[in-house]
């Protein structure tokens, strides 16, 4: 566990303090939260697993890219692992920028990249007791697989 991957409830306050910046006029915060249904099936909980070292490296990279690409002034990303109940936040993204246009765009970029690139997996637990790992985005390209 560390700066980006945490196994306890996500806390906004420390990230707000860490990113305080009088040069920013816009603060956009995104939380992904556990939803009570997916594709029509009632969900009861969600378990998140990570390759912690890899995921931390990727989230660190995404923070740096977000600052660079959008000219925002602060970007912090945290993702929680473990079993989360309905409504609990799994991911938290804090972006501060001079103005709102770039802050919204940067926040959106960061969450899209997290979903595409971070070594994190989720298993949905359904109300009927069944559970399933969700289909996701391959980290590898087809030409990298064994012949």
């Amino acid at each position: 566990m560390g700066r980006w991957i945490v196994d306890s409830p996500l806390e906004l306050e420390p990230l707000l303090r860490e990113t305080e910046d009088p040069g920013s006029g816009a603060l956009v915060i995104f939380y992904g939260t556990v939803r009570n249904e997916n594709e029509g099936r009632p969900v009861q909980a969600m378990t998140y697993e990570a390759h912690v070292a890899l995921a931390e490296k990727t989230l660190n990279e995404i923070e740096a890219e977000t600052l660079e690409k959008f000219g925002v002034r602060r970007c912090r990303i945290q993702h929680r692992i473990g079993t989360l109940q309905l409504g609990e936040p799994s991911v938290l993204i804090v972006v501060r920028g001079g103005h709102r246009t770039e802050a919204y765009a940067a926040s959106r970029y960061a969450i899209d990249e997290v979903k595409q690139r971070a070594a994190i997996w989720k298993e949905e637990h359904y109300a009927d007791g069944d559970s399933r790992y969700l289909d996701g985005v391959p980290l590898t390209r087809k030409d990298e697989t064994p012949a």
């Binding site: 690139r117 994190i120 997996w121 399933r132 980290l139 064994p146």
Partner: protein
């Protein structure tokens, strides 16, 4: 040499184990060679290989990466964080 293999996400259900240590004779085993050995032991793995990425210790690696005694190899299926 000993290689600890960790199956992430849904892979651990497919193969029935989260992690397992394998003993291989001699040196020079590549990640690709490891994957071939795993395929033989876990047929369920074969159909998923084209979407799996490989990590050795804390790095994503290519199939020609040579493993060393004590390495930890992670098999990473498609990710679904967020």
């Amino acid at each position: 040499m000993k290689i600890q293999v960790i199956f992430y996400g849904g892979l651990k259900q497919d193969v029935g184990t989260k992690q397992q240590t394998f003993e291989f004779p001699g040196d020079g085993l590549t990640v690709g060679g490891l994957v071939e050995a795993l395929k033989a032991q876990y047929p369920a793995l074969a159909v998923r290989l084209d979407t799996i990425a490989y990590a050795v210790n804390d790095e994503i690696v290519e199939l020609n990466t040579v493993l060393r005694d004590g390495d930890q190899a992670g098999l990473l299926p498609p990710v679904s964080g967020g």
